[in-house]
């Protein structure tokens, strides 16, 4: 029997690269291959982890996160200070305003917090709102005006971007465009943003995600589809992808509760791996930036990225 046995590596050549977004000190994107396939890309672009800090700690916030940060967790400025010696590449400040009675006062407070934070760190910053559309429509433009250097601001959605995006654009920041797990909506939204005059090289896609075991599979596949389309030449889908894995992972029972079957194992190991694995599966599906919450988990995933990217 004749056997064909000469092997040639089945390399792909994609003409279109993922857009490079300048995060102010770091770049996201730029590769023209799927993640981790180093010999196919002309430019190797290491995925990034951003550590997320909240300005308000809800009452049901996971104990493990509270334990790690200690009292600092209740004070975002202190939290940022203590984050500075932890080798993070970037920080996400989540202005999750809780008291909605007096939004204006909360926004004022957020602006003051932001001014302080800008003074104490020069890490690339992502300034994130509440994900409540009306609140963000007021809050995000104010943050954009307050930030005196280039930041990445979001997320904007189809329902509120008209109030936010023009100001983010004028202030020279990048924007995070969020759509609900649907590649067509993602593309359509990017087109809308560019029609508004937003430079496509300053857009980052947030396709939305679920945590491990809670809808992660849908995000996984949408990201894979976005990347396939992007590399094959769709210039309204070839922006870097960001996913907020920390938020999703830490709202699960798996990351929070000790009151579980013994088969679920040790809480700390489980919670850290829950967040880490939510992150790694997003990275293999194609995410460029993962936003995480527990510094231990960040360390593990950063180590993985460092070793796989050499």
């Amino acid at each position: 029997m004749f056997i064909m046995n000469t092997y040639t590596p089945p390399k792909k050549e994609y003409k279109t690269a993922i857009r490079e977004v300048d995060l102010n000190g770091l770049t996201a994107g730029g590769e023209n291959s799927l993640n981790f396939l180093h010999s196919e890309t002309q430019k190797v672009s290491k995925p990034l982890i951003a550590c997320e800090i909240l300005t308000n700690i809800p009452s049901n916030h996971p104990q493990l996160l509270k334990d790690f940060w200690g009292e600092n967790i209740y004070n975002p400025i202190e939290c940022v200070k203590s984050a500075l010696n932890k080798n993070f590449s970037a920080l996400v400040i989540r202005f999750n305003i809780e008291n909605c009675e007096d939004i204006d006062a909360e926004i004022e407070k957020s602006k003051e917090q932001l001014k302080e934070i800008l003074k104490i760190t020069d890490l690339p910053l992502f300034l994130i709102g509440t994900f409540r559309r009306e609140v963000d429509a007021k809050l995000l433009p104010e943050l954009a005006k307050t930030a005196d250097r280039k930041c990445t601001i979001g997320a904007v959605e189809e329902e509120n971007f008209r109030q936010i995006a023009p100001i983010v654009k004028d202030c020279g920041h990048n924007i995070i465009a969020r759509t609900p797990i649907d590649i067509n909506l993602t593309k359509q939204f990017n087109i809308l943003l560019t029609e508004l005059g937003f430079n496509a090289d300053r857009i980052i896609i947030d396709p939305n995600t679920g945590g491990l075991g809670y809808g992660l599979d849908y995000a996984y596949s949408i990201i894979e589809r976005i990347k396939q389309a992007a590399l094959q030449g769709d210039t309204m889908l070839n922006m870097p992808v960001i996913t907020f894995v920390g938020e999703e992972a830490w709202k699960t029972k798996e990351a929070k509760s000790n009151n579980v079957p013994v088969e679920w194992g040790n809480l700390t190991t489980r919670a850290i791996s829950w967040e880490s694995i939510t992150a790694t599966s997003m990275l293999v599906s194609g995410a460029n930036i993962v936003v995480m919450r527990h510094p231990e988990a960040i360390k593990y995933v950063q180590d993985f990225i460092d070793k796989t990217y050499g």
């Binding site: 056997i3 046995n5 092997y7 075991g213 509760s257 088969e263 679920w264 489980r270 791996s273 293999v284």
Partner: protein, 456 residues
């Protein structure tokens, strides 16, 4: 990828309205019926006299197996690996879930205890029993034989890892109807092919590069053995994902026969990977997504295994069909007229998550499930499949107005905005806004129930 009936039909006389259309010579009433049978491989292609050469070659090309399916373990109930047909799960559901295996050395001091732990591990998630698929038994002392027999008796699928051909074949002589996967280090393809043929067991073909695997495969195929599993040794973290992707791509997209077999990856073969369970878990999660069919973990850690089994469930579900449960009233525990009424959607994940928490609270409750096309709470709400009207109708058709006397209804916290809408539709009822996340349901229900009892 296989052709569908419709794709085949396009090449038959019936679709082109040619004179022979539906001539019935194949034994089927129409060309369409024949096409459907052919797509399922239930009839040989030669049955139709009017097949064109074009269809014949397209069909042969399409039905060529991309990746072999290899079963091993107990003859009656083997675990199967391989037979994948796509690179991405959005193209088509992945076929055989990754086999998560745990290593155990024959010399392990706590062998029996560890074996039992692995055997008994079982965890329910979204209505599915998740278990450890396989044990990798390493030959580290003279009790290897005895331990192998013990595992075979337990019926847990097993990988035998040894350097010793005699020891291994002696075991195979004794466990006749149990077919382990055989890994003999430093042995030639010819020797392994011999074993495969004599015992009808799959064997691992290993190499340090893809080229080496290809050369080995050629030798196996020459020796008429295709019951093999590929293994890459000594892998750097930097190149492993790419190598596994290339093996899978060669098989799936290029139908490159020498690599058309499933792959086994040992975490111990990954350079600079520590024994830390989380670090091992992270790499395993990546291997699970990117193209290993069997992964052998160094240690058994419940938390890591549970995370990985969850990920596997996610990656191997059918992306086309969300798991649904029947929309009806589920009484949880010994319900009575004072039991709380809770409403949520019929997405299996949502249902099982919520039921677990209600059970944990020990408060018997009625769980009313709405017909919401298998969507999660917020997804269904956005798609207008979980609204005031649907919820009100659910409460009425399930007869809850007679079953309980309190007329209070608890809804998921994320849809608090539905309160008014529901109360408009159900004027006698009061809508109570529950917790956002299931993890907070126990506390919520307990304090709610306490409050209700005080009011009685």
């Amino acid at each position: 990828m296989k052709l569908t009936g419709l794709q085949i039909f396009k090449y038959l006389p019936g679709s082109k309205k040619e004179p022979q259309a539906n001539c019935k010579k194949c034994g089927f009433p129409t060309c369409m019926a024949f096409a459907m049978k052919l797509a399922k491989n239930e009839v040989p292609i030669e049955k139709c006299e009017h097949i064109t050469d074009e269809l014949k070659s397209i069909f042969e090309e399409a039905s060529q197996i991309q990746q072999a399916e290899i079963p091993f373990g107990c003859a009656k109930n083997p675990v199967k690996i391989g037979n994948e047909t796509v690179m991405f799960r959005h193209d088509k559901k992945f076929v055989n879930p990754t086999c998560i295996a745990v290593k155990l050395e024959s010399s392990d001091e706590n062998f029996d205890e560890k074996l039992n732990k692995i055997l008994n591990y079982s965890v329910e998630r979204v209505g599915e029993d998740l278990k450890i698929s396989t044990l990798a038994l390493f030959d580290t002392d003279k009790t290897f034989e005895e331990k192998a027999k013990k595992v075979a008796k337990s019926k847990l699928p097993m990988i035998l890892v040894s350097e010793n051909i005699e020891k291994t074949t002696k075991i195979l002589d004794e466990i006749k109807d149990f077919k382990p996967l055989i890994y003999i280090e430093n042995s030639s393809p010819e020797e392994l092919a011999e074993i495969e043929k004599k015992y009808n067991v799959p064997v691992v073909s290993s190499g340090s590069s893809i080229e080496e695997l290809v050369n080995n495969s050629a030798k196996f195929i020459e020796n008429k053995t295709q019951n093999i599993v590929l293994n890459l040794k000594n892998q750097s973290q930097k190149s492993l994902i790419e190598n596994l992707t290339y093996i899978r791509r060669s098989a799936i997209e290029n139908k490159f026969k020498p690599l058309g077999f499933p792959v086994i990856q040992f975490t111990k073969d990954i350079a600079d990977l520590s024994q830390d369970p989380i670090e091992q878990g992270i790499w395993t999660s990546v291997l699970l997504c990117k193209y290993a069919n069997i992964i052998v973990l160094e240690h058994f850690d419940e938390a890591i295994i549970y995370s990985l089994l969850t990920l596997r469930q996610n990656i191997y579900t059918d992306p086309e069909k969300p798991l649904q449960i029947e929309a009806k009233l589920y009484p949880i525990g010994e319900t009575d007229e004072n039991s709380p009424v809770i409403v949520t959607t019929n997405f299996a994940l949502t249902y099982f998550t919520v039921v677990g928490e209600i059970e944990a609270s020990n408060i018997p409750s009625y769980l009313a499930i709405t017909p919401s096309d298998g969507m999660s709470v917020l997804t269904a709400w956005s798609a207008d499949k979980f609204n005031g009207e649907i919820i009100a109708k659910t409460i009425k058709t399930y007869g809850l107005e007679e079953l309980v006397k309190h007329k209070k209804l608890i809804i998921p916290g994320y849809v608090s905005s539905l309160k008014e809408e529901i109360e408009d539709e159900l004027p006698d009822w009061e809508v109570i806004i529950g917790a956002n996340e299931a993890v907070d349901i126990v506390d919520f229900l307990r304090s709610y129930q306490k409050q209700q009892l005080l009011n009685l």
